[in-house]
């Protein structure tokens, strides 16, 4: 591993603890929702991080089809993996917050539904990578990722319109955020971005090592076979 890695690990650990302190102690308590609202500092940064990672996956997949370099393929793979992890955090923390605030675990609100649809697409993507027995898994996966990216705007329009027809609970999207809360939110996002970066870095090195091992094993069995 490179020298920057331990530095990033320390910075991430520091930022995450500081962000936790800010979210639980420094941030003011929300008037109507109370302490439950504090999950917001985990929920929203996770969502932004997940969307950023999915965007990286889309760009890396296009680059892979153009350049065919293993690096872009690994980048696409890990950004989807870590993105799905963060997206899962979003989908889990959402209902935990919604239950006491809205009184329901789940509602087909546009943002929730879209996030869920994205999650399904990227799980399908990872599934394809896992069960593929093609020698060109990377190409198939890149194509699927690009189709997934194309699906997003259509999904967005369809879901917006679909929800528009069905009444759903009023969501406090119109209110403005207290500047202190926005401050805590940004610190948390910084911490989550560092964590995502750290996870991606680790996963990247692991994937590179794994591919080297597989290559070496293939070579070895080839040599043994020719003997």
């Amino acid at each position: 591993m490179k020298r920057g890695f331990p530095i990033l690990a320390v910075v991430t650990a520091f930022l995450l603890s500081f962000a936790l302190y800010e979210a639980l102690i420094v941030a003011p308590t929300e008037q109507t929702m109370g302490n439950v609202q504090r999950i917001f500092y985990y929920h929203v940064p996770s969502a932004w991080t997940a969307f950023l990672l999915f965007a990286i996956n889309f760009v890396a997949s296009i680059l892979y089809l153009i350049k065919r370099s293993a690096k872009t393929d690994i980048l696409a793979l890990i950004s989807a993996e870590v993105g799905v992890v963060f997206c899962t955090v979003v989908l889990v923390t959402g209902p935990i917050w919604a239950r006491p605030v809205w009184g329901i675990w789940w509602t087909w609100d546009p943002r929730l539904t879209l996030t869920f649809a994205l999650w399904l697409i990227y799980v399908a993507y990872l599934l394809l990578r896992r069960v593929s027995n093609s020698s060109q898994t990377a190409v198939l996966a890149a194509i699927l990722a690009i189709l997934g990216g194309l699906d997003v705007p259509l999904n967005y329009m369809a879901i917006r319109w679909w929800v528009g027809q069905h009444p759903s609970p009023v969501i406090g999207g119109g209110g403005s955020l207290d500047p202190r809360m926005a401050h805590v939110l940004l610190i948390n996002w910084a911490a989550f971005l560092c964590l995502a970066w750290l996870l991606c870095w680790t996963r990247y090195e692991l994937e590179v090592a794994q591919r080297q091992v597989e290559e070496a094993q293939a070579l070895q069995s080839l040599l043994e076979g020719s003997r």
Binding site: V123, L128, V139, L140, I143, A158, I159
Partner: protein, 224 residues
Amino acid sequence: MSFFAISRATLAKDIRLEWRSKDAINAMLFFALLVVVIFSFAFDPTAEESRRIAGGLIWVAFLFAAVVALNQTWARELRNQVLDAYRVSPAPANPLFLAKALGNFLFVSVLEALMTPLFIAFYKLRALGPAWELVPIAFLGTWALVVNGTFFAAISLRTRSREIMLPLLLFPFSIPALLGMVNATTAVLTGEESARFWIALLLAYDVVFTTACLLFFELVLEAE
């Protein structure tokens, strides 16, 4: 051979095969019939409410049944190494894809034509909105299913568990199309709102994914 000639030859071959064996259409028909019967037991078909859910039921039945045909599209070609032969031939990939998609479109359309009267009878359906709109909805919706289905079937050919993989890939990517066809159909059946937005969305979906599939199909065909 020109683009058109290759497409026509492949399509004619698939239709002839299907005409003689009737593998896909029989399986699809019986499967769709079973889905309709099971839905009728699961949801009270006589209730006035059924008008609201019929659009969803009908498309879910077609979607499940279409997967049966879609799975056979390429598996049939694998048996005698037809795809390998196609790859080494100088023929371009896209006419093959278009022919397969058109073939599936034809088979699923036949299924829909036969199943729709049954649905109408079972659920006592009557369109309260402009019924002619169901024609473009069926056309665009079916194309959305088969163009992606044919493409994803080609991808899932390269996986360990082909037949299971197709729906797992197809369904998540079809969410916008599914929302489009179901809501458009419901809008026409209930006559409460206009189906125009959904038809436009289906059209956009079809254009985007047909273009993308044609753009990438050669890569999928080459990826053994």
